[in-house]
Symmetry: C2
Subunit: 110 residues, 2 copies
Amino acid sequence: MNDDPKQLGCDGEVSQAARLAAKLTALSHPARIEILQYLAGNGCCCCKDVVGRFDLAQSTVSQHLKILVDAGLVRFSPEKQRSRYEIDREALAGLSVSVSTLIDSCCAVP
Amino acid sequence: MNDDPKQLGCDGEVSQAARLAAKLTALSHPARIEILQYLAGNGCCCCKDVVGRFDLAQSTVSQHLKILVDAGLVRFSPEKQRSRYEIDREALAGLSVSVSTLIDSCCAVP
DNA sequence: ATCGTTCATCGTCGTTAGACGATGAACGCT
DNA sequence: AGCGTTCATCGTCTAACGACGATGAACGAT
């Protein structure tokens, strides 16, 4: 385990960390955490609902929602007029497992 | 639960999301995830060890380590010459709980 | 005393994030 | 047809990130 020339695996390990980091990036903003909680508490929301809830411009909220959608944490249905945003519970559960796994592996004493 | 004027709690909830977001920001970079794993696997390391492991400049590694330390995920002992960096397992465990709590609360059906 | 190591910090540079207003498309309603 | 709503997108601006090289301090070793 010490004879690696330089960094960390050819692709598998790197992209795994990168994938997790991408999802964590989506979660690493207070507004997005609270938007997620709001979505969770309200099942299904349109952008306007969220806008009315936070002190942010509509474009900003739309951006944050897009980031959450792109990260795969929120599902998006381009409804006719008011698009619907909904928590992706499976994805969130998966992320929870990933984080736990990472942290557990870091906390385990070798 | 719908009569809040605008955003989200006066301070408690907001700063809780902000605090979590701050820690997640530290975790939201592939290099830092891998540095964390490396520290976990090696108990206690100096900066040079990490530098030799990753394909990053010493100053960059030092920066990443500082971010992890500032987030409270890594403990730092300014040893004489080679400073020691060590995983803070308690903090990591606490973060794991925070993330799980957040996600569980988001996955719970109201 | 001098040299090599280690490391934090500074300054720089290019890129991205975060916030906003403005705009225009799509739609419901009258 | 015309109006109001909703929303994604664009452009802009500032601030922060990520990476680097250079520098200097602190220390061990010779």
